[in-house]
Symmetry: C2
């Protein structure tokens, strides 16, 4: 497959199946019509459901009040199997990164409400005499998400109340056994973003990417059971493996392509797709009220 196929695959959605979700006048997500119609029957009025949109709030006007009210209103839908069980990890709901947290939502329900989610992905790499090498992880076979698939060395979702770099240190310890003095060398290097429809709903995700250059002497060592093996591959092999449709977890090709662009592994003279890749790696989510500023 082409590199662009990964980007196109993660920007596929039929918005006619969704209606927009608002909080305090801000557009924060998209909900399937079936979920909206079910929420319309929940007493209490936390979800004000109209035919063309859903407003969250009602009497719950503070972030904490919204968090509690939304969680309570969603409970019957969990029981009915309409949305997944809670995972016990709260994600921040924002209109855009850097803006106030409007409420917190269980990670399992982020896609059902189609709100933006954020995460950190860490490219662990080694500059060897024979070229640039990248640490690639193979996910454990018992994972719910992408069992057995390839992954970045370290990656994790962004829970509420944690800084990005704090999350990098935490995930590097859990997933790769890296001490803070090693993981602290991770350097922010931008982001990738996409907006994809899945069985669970809409996922408008932003992954903040970090580069962590490691000496050959440091070998990642998984602590939390998420990873079954780490491989140090030449970057050319990593890129070749992107040609296989399902080798990697769905959003990892974005992070690898971004790394290859930033490090000059892909060049604009030799890659006809180059400009489409570079631009396609940072898509603005679908908006009910589109504006170039809604990035």
């Amino acid at each position: 497959m082409l590199y662009m196929d990964h980007i196109d695959a993660l920007n596929t959605h039929d918005m006619s199946g969704f209606r927009p979700v608002f909080v305090a006048g801000r557009e924060i997500g998209w909900m399937r019509h079936g979920v909206a119609e079910r929420l319309a029957l929940i007493p209490g009025g936390v979800f004000e459901v109209g035919p063309f949109g859903v407003a969250i709030g009602g009497a719950a006007a503070s972030p904490d009040a919204r968090t509690a009210a939304v969680a309570a209103a969603l409970s019957p839908l969990i029981d009915e199997g309409l949305i997944p069980p809670r995972r016990g990890e709260l994600y921040p709901v924002v209109e855009r990164w850097g803006e106030p947290v409007l409420f917190a939502l269980d990670r399992a329900h982020v896609a059902a409400l189609g709100v933006r989610a954020f995460g950190v992905h860490i490219n662990g790499f080694v500059r060897r005499p024979d070229g640039l090498h990248m640490w690639i992880a193979r996910r454990a076979d018992d994972r719910t998400v992408a069992p057995g698939r390839l992954d970045n060395m370290v990656a994790g979702g962004q829970a509420v109340g944690l800084g990005l770099m704090e999350n990098v240190l935490k995930e590097c310890a859990e997933e790769a056994g890296l001490t803070p003095d090693v993981a602290g060398g991770a350097r922010p290097a931008g982001l990738v973003s996409y907006c994809v429809e899945t069985a669970l709903g809409l996922k408008p995700d932003t992954l903040f990417v970090f580069d962590l250059e490691l000496p050959e002497s440091i070998v990642p060592d998984n602590q939390d059971g998420e990873i079954q093996a780490f491989m140090l591959w030449p970057i050319e092999r990593v890129l070749e493996t992107l040609r296989e449709p399902d080798a990697f977890k769905f959003n990892v090709p974005h992070v690898i392509l971004d790394f290859a662009v930033r490090h000059g592994v892909l060049t604009p003279d030799d890659t006809p797709e180059y400009a489409r890749i570079a631009t396609g790696l940072r898509r603005v989510p679908v908006c009910f009220h589109p504006s170039p500023e809604r990035a």
Copy 2:
């Protein structure tokens, strides 16, 4: 001013003043209504002018034939002062980077037809013990474009028939006196793009960015009169100077912000605008038939 103000400024346009331009069924640009109406009066039918669009071609069906026919048709408009005099440098006209060259157009008329233009910008930088430093150029006072303003170490538009890396070597020699063995260390690192309306027309530009790490012993030395001085500034000073509205040539802040994002000088934890900057630096041009793939 805010970093985002630079990005917003370069994505400002009122498309009601333009109509789309097509070649061989491909959308390639935007033309002001006044220019279109004047071209409608040119005999020969190279520009087929309708109220809602302009098709270029007519009998001229090959790239070379289009190049000649378009140049001839534009001549009266130059004489009348409706478009600028030729500069004698031909730019490729493409629907997207990496696709076939549909014809070549004098650099001076690229904005009048609103076609995409491409260029290379080279970040010259030095890793000193006291931190990252960047070479900043001050443009000569006799330049037509941005006289006296600050610029990247080396930058240049992309003429037809030249590779990007070939252009990097050529511009590094002319603008900074760098030998090919030094300039050859430049590494592609992505691109920035914007779409801005100017007095000349619409500019949907893509700048391919290259990083060139230099030892302290190498000092750029301008050969072609475009630059009056080079300064090696700490990256923090470069970013501070971005706060001044008109210190830099109009599109240079994009390249510097991209550099600062890629090198972790700006961090997502400390920069509320971070996600908007990262996404805003790569805008897809305005399209008559919008599609996410038109990057």
